[in-house]
Symmetry: C2
Subunit: 265 residues, 2 copies
């Protein structure tokens, strides 16, 4: 096996020895003119189901690049089953949320509109591009599932009963995040982070009636929405996710590779 | 006591009943022309030593604003003793590091230059402004101490022996952050986060010889430097800092959702 290639790419193609892969104009340009890679140079590729493979550049053309898949470098392994639901925030900050949630191992990143959510639409192409780039850089073997944004009540209406939804609360009555997260170790989990303006009282009332909702507190300071996202995901990973000593073994149930590619809802 | 003012300001003046405070041109402009506050309106002020006070606007002039301090709203309380040492990263990302470290309750934010650190200087005025703005918004009663940047070896040369320095390591041999942090509960702590290019081998060798250094791992994915900062500080606060249940005694009051809409200064 060659040295670790510096470049990792997420691709949609199946990966197997000898498989040919075509890259689109944007990526071909990036490899050729930004990274200055040449025919014969190696990159790492992954598609979320077949592990990570070494692929070698066969050639470039006007607007394309072809690769041939060679040896497998890592077997597919699915990360923890951890969703993030968050109220869209303004551009710049929302890009960082997608990037960091991907790095912090969220399996699903799902924008949900709440009463006080300010942006009324989300550029999902842009958000997905940020998450994919982060996945490539941080050595994930899959990219987060990123369904189209929905109203919060719609996301809750079809909620899978076994998945605990940690509500990042602004009020002091919530349980400290470390305690709550440990109590639900082994359960599929999700965090819900509200907009900068907070949830409406009626939303909090509705949430409090749902059996899978557990309000959690993130300390005495009033965190911005993006900070709450980073903090919540990191705490979960450190306490019951794949940052623990047991790492892979005692991790909460893993998704099958197929599910990791998730269907948009 | 009046309702919680939406605006919080960090000031340098002593705070006591009847004390007059003058604001500089920039802040006077902000209060008058951006927030459209008027004579008689109230703001909250804190200076890091005297708690938080209500102050009322006496008047505006060309380039100034005067306030009179009225009632004390919160007694001074010191946050956890948690330092952040980090290798400067590029503009934009370094601003976010200052903002988030302040929100996440770092008591000291200290840029340190390492072998592979790319920016060779840091705009400390800008960094401090970001940290102060975050402190105002997140209801801290103090702003982080932000010493001038130094070479890493200088910061380590005078290191206080009782303070554990958690080294955010890129290699898998480090102990999981949650375990390590719990082992040193009750000790003054610091995190050291290296540059995007990682530490040099000689730096890691030197660090490994220091009795107060404890390498910690932040999971299997390769985190960007800024992500490592957010994750490390959040984990510490959640596990042994003021996000724990016992931290509750020392917690300041929470803002209601309505107040959380307050604008940063």
């Amino acid at each position: 096996m060659q040295d670790t290639p510096k470049t990792r790419l997420h691709v949609d193609s199946p990966l197997a020895e000898g498989q040919a892969i075509g890259l689109d104009h944007e990526r071909a340009h990036y490899l050729r003119h930004v990274l200055r890679l040449e025919r014969g140079d190696a990159v790492a590729v992954f598609n979320g189901t077949d592990g990570e493979w070494l692929a070698v550049i066969d050639g470039f053309g006007k607007g394309w690049c072809s690769l041939t898949v060679q040896a497998r470098r890592r077997a597919q392994q699915d990360g923890p089953d951890l969703w993030l639901l968050f109220a869209p925030i303004k551009r710049g900050r929302i890009d960082t949320v997608a990037e960091k949630a991907s790095e912090l191992g969220a399996s699903r990143i799902w924008p949900v509109f709440t009463r006080h959510t300010d942006p009324h639409r989300v550029n999902m192409d842009r958000l997905r591009a940020n998450a994919v780039e982060a996945a490539e850089q941080c050595e994930r073997l899959s990219v987060p599932d990123m369904p189209e944004p929905v109203q919060l009540h719609k996301a809750l209406a079809d909620w899978p009963a076994e998945r605990v939804l940690f509500l990042c609360a602004e009020s002091g009555s919530a349980r400290p995040v470390a305690e709550a997260v440990r109590d639900f170790a082994g359960r599929p989990a999700a965090f819900l982070v509200g907009p900068e303006g907070g949830f409406a009282k009626s939303e909090l009332d509705d949430l409090s009636k749902l059996p899978f909702v557990v309000p959690v507190g993130l300390g005495p300071r009033v965190l911005r929405a993006d900070t709450a996202v980073f903090a919540a995901l990191a705490c979960w990973q450190a306490l019951v996710g794949d940052w623990t000593a047991s790492g892979g073994d005692a991790r909460p149930p893993f998704r099958a590779a197929e599910d990791a590619r998730g269907q948009p809802i």
